[in-house]
């Protein structure tokens, strides 16, 4: 397994260079996992991508580097301490480093000679391909996806220049992931929504959620989807609810700040029983926080957001595969129970690209929007039923009238202040949870059954925790296991109770300061964690960090 860092200032093409390189490596068969660390600015500063690849599955990043591709001095300065003794630095000859591991190359000069100073990144790609014994086959195809047509040739020439410059240094290993996808969590959400039959997506741009809107917009015309950039997040969610009421499968997305604005309308979806999927791509708060970085601190917020009580489902996305299939499932369950379903992602999983088996767009069955109504009885939008779910008709699709109200309402959907109706309606809404709870997905169990310590995690820490369990158990004594929640509210309890009962020690690993999952677990089950590994500096925890902090926890 190799780990490369590509760093430089915003505007130096770090992202494109990483995107092309990761695709080329994946196409040669490697399993690739890349995370993006960037500042909230368009030019300057320090940005980097961490590109990890190998022949076995990789689900998280590591800070120990085999190579640094530096576009500026700052990159070397900040990351040289992470470079392995036998690692390399690839940089332009104008950089000031005197480190013996540096391979200096006049990339800027070569790029200028080729006729475009911006192709320096492609020279670097050529160097890397050669270092790792890769061929240049298929490069043209990949460049076509990332570079404008007139610039393809010059980029290929640049690649060739870099390729000639070095000798192969690392052994080429043959992986079997050539035909798998390389996709970020946010792109996978966009594809999952399309596969579920999304018709309307409304949002207001907000990092790190905007990639979802942009991805859907990129294929909306072909897929028959309307993407509307709303004037604010309040409009975005009210539009999604209006579209869903009228029969178009709808979704809205944002980050925590935008979710705060959407809160009242979340309750409208619950009260009026209009299916809705909302995604919160979390970033560190409070308020503006760290706009381009990662955190898991919105859990307790979204499970209780909006006044009053109504049923909702919260699903945390654990990886890119989850992002696709759970998005599809979110639409199905929103429709089935006529509730809001909240997807919790974060910057880490949203922006990281992972290698996944090609998605099967029909694996998850999604109910059509609205029901058929053949009964002889008068149609009542909020008819009392055994399971609390009333037949949902689409207005204008039949002679029946579909009336919804944010006020407490009677079965017809008309405003009421009757104490009796109020209680019956509240019961009807909450009744839907009974069936929903029966089909919750239990957390993923990682490790073997003879464990002492049980790690509890949720969402995007799935990757680091998975890897950490492997590292922790390396000595052969299988002392560690983990439960990582996807469905998180209502909290699935069966496996948790079972595993917690035999664990000697429970440790929650979360990207927040207060241990929100541990709090939720305690509230729902009375189970208390014995220790916590919490991180809230805006950077995702690594397996190595979990390992190290676990050892410290045990010394306590």
């Amino acid at each position: 397994m190799y780990n490369l860092l590509i760093g430089g200032a915003a505007g130096q093409g770090i992202e494109t260079t990483a995107a092309i390189l990761e695709r080329l490596l994946k196409r040669s068969g490697y399993f690739v996992f890349t995370v993006r660390d960037f500042m909230s600015r368009v030019r300057g500063g320090h940005n980097f991508s961490l590109l990890r690849f190998g022949t076995e599955p990789i689900h998280s990043h590591s800070n120990r580097l085999d190579g640094i591709i530096a576009m500026d001095d700052e990159t070397i300065l900040q990351h040289i301490s992470q470079l392995k003794p036998d690692g390399f630095i690839l940089c332009d000859s104008k950089l000031t480093t005197t480190d013996a591991r540096a391979m200096k190359l006049d990339m800027d000069g070569m790029a200028k000679k080729l006729g475009n100073p911006r192709v320096a990144g492609s020279i670097a790609i050529g160097v890397i391909l050669k270092l790792f014994g890769e061929s240049q086959d298929g490069a043209e195809d990949v460049f076509r996806a990332f570079v404008k047509q007139p610039l393809i040739e010059i980029n290929l020439k640049a690649l060739q220049e870099g390729y000639q410059f070095v000798e192969t240094r690392f052994e080429h290993r043959k992986g079997s992931y050539k035909d798998w996808m390389l996709i970020s969590g946010s792109h996978a959400v966009a594809l999952g929504a399309a596969a579920a039959g999304l018709r309307f997506y409304s949002a207001y741009p907000m990092s790190p959620s905007t990639a979802i809107m942009e991805t859907i917009a990129s294929f909306a015309d072909d897929a028959g989807i309307v993407v509307e950039q709303a004037e604010d997040e309040i409009a975005a969610i009210n539009m999604a609810i209006g579209a869903s009421y009228a029969g178009a499968r709808a979704m809205t997305g944002t980050s925590g700040g935008g979710f705060s604005l959407k809160v009242e309308a979340l309750g409208l979806s619950g009260m009026a029983e209009i299916p809705l999927v909302v995604i919160d791509v979390q970033r560190p708060g409070p308020v503006t926080g760290l706009p381009t970085r990662t955190e898991q601190s919105d859990l307790k917020f979204v499970i209780s957001a909006s006044q009053g009580e109504f049923p909702r489902l919260v699903i945390a996305l654990r990886n890119a595969e989850d992002a696709f299939y759970q998005t599809m499932r979110a639409f199905h369950l929103a429709e089935k129970y006529q509730i809001p379903v909240i997807l919790l992602s974060d910057q880490y999983i949203g922006d990281a690209t992972a290698t996944v088996e090609p998605f099967d767009p029909v694996r998850v069955q999604v109910m059509p929007s609205g029901n058929a109504y053949t009964s002889e009885e008068e149609y009542l939008r909020y008819r009392y039923t055994e399971d609390g779910v009333s037949p949902r008709l689409i207005p204008g699709k039949s002679e029946h009238l579909v009336c919804i109200d944010s006020d407490e309402h009677d079965e017809r959907g008309h405003i009421t202040e009757s104490a009796e109706v109020r209680t019956k309606m509240a019961d009807k809404r909450m009744k839907k949870l009974e069936d929903l709870e029966q089909e919750l997905l239990e957390p993923e169990f990682i490790g073997a059954d003879d464990f002492d310590t049980l790690i509890l995690g949720w969402g995007s820490t799935w990757g680091p925790i998975t890897e950490a369990v492997g590292l922790l158990n390396q000595n052969g004594k299988k002392r560690y296991a983990a439960l990582v929640f996807g469905d998180i509210y209502p909290l699935p309890q069966k496996l948790l109770r079972e595993k917690a009962a035999v664990a000697k020690r429970l440790i929650n690993v979360e990207q927040n300061a207060t241990g929100q999952l541990a709090g939720l677990v305690r509230e729902a089950t009375g189970i208390t964690c014995d220790g916590s590994i919490l991180k809230y500096d805006g950077r995702q925890i690594t397996a190595e960090e979990i390992l190290e902090r676990m050892q410290r926890e045990e010394e306590k």
Binding site: L182, R199, G224, E231, A243, P395, D407
Partner: protein
Amino acid sequence: MSTDTFSTYETAWCPGCGNFAILDCLKKALEQLGKKPSEVLLAAGIGQAAKTPQYLSANAFCGLHGRSLPAAVAAKIANESLTVIVNTGDGDSYGEGGNHFLHNIRRNVDITHFVHDNQIYGLTKGQASPTSIEGLVTGVQTDGNINEPLNPMLVAIACGAGFVARGFTGRKEQLISLMKQAIEYKGYALVDILQPCISFNKTNTFGWYNERVYELEESYNPQDKIAAMTRAMEFDEKIPLGVLYREEKCTYHQKNTVLKTGTPLLDQTTDPAVMNRLIASYI
């Protein structure tokens, strides 16, 4: 022509409220246009005016305060065969929902917006609204309202609305005609309807309006934007009633690539080949 296509229900409005006239005119306008209840969607926010959908037999979306426009335009985007009409108040439309008012003019989705403008907050029992006149004394504005009133007609024309009209509950025949023109107009149509609040606005009474209103003369050219803005600025001494401004414009549906195919959005599907191509583009 049948006058019973739409049924009305018992209301919770104060006796003498201007909303009764609006409800009656709306019912007549819809019936005269030959609309069926199932093809009409009445949307509203919160407020006394926003109860209108509760009292007429049509599809109803009674959503959040200030948020009727986003929900209504999206319903129209989802299903263009619905006749979408927003009935809501001056506070809901111009105050809480002010941002949506501005931007939905720009969107120009083919919906109709009837603002029941009584220059006061009725449901919350008498505080200043965005259109309250300066000096109006209320339980909150105890020294008189010190804010200048918003001029919704002028704002709408300035933002590029293609149909801007003003009606009055004391001129019902004209109001029905304005409602019909607004519903038939292709694009966002605004009718600001002057309506006395008999319980809380003791200044802008039926008599106050009646003394000031006049119908735009037949020679008035509603396509003259400057003339429309000049008339829109009249309010204190005399108030023009009628279509102040009218311009034929491309609608959201005519401009959006997916919607201009003519297939209502809710009936569209994603071709599995498109889905497979998308997935393959990540390999």
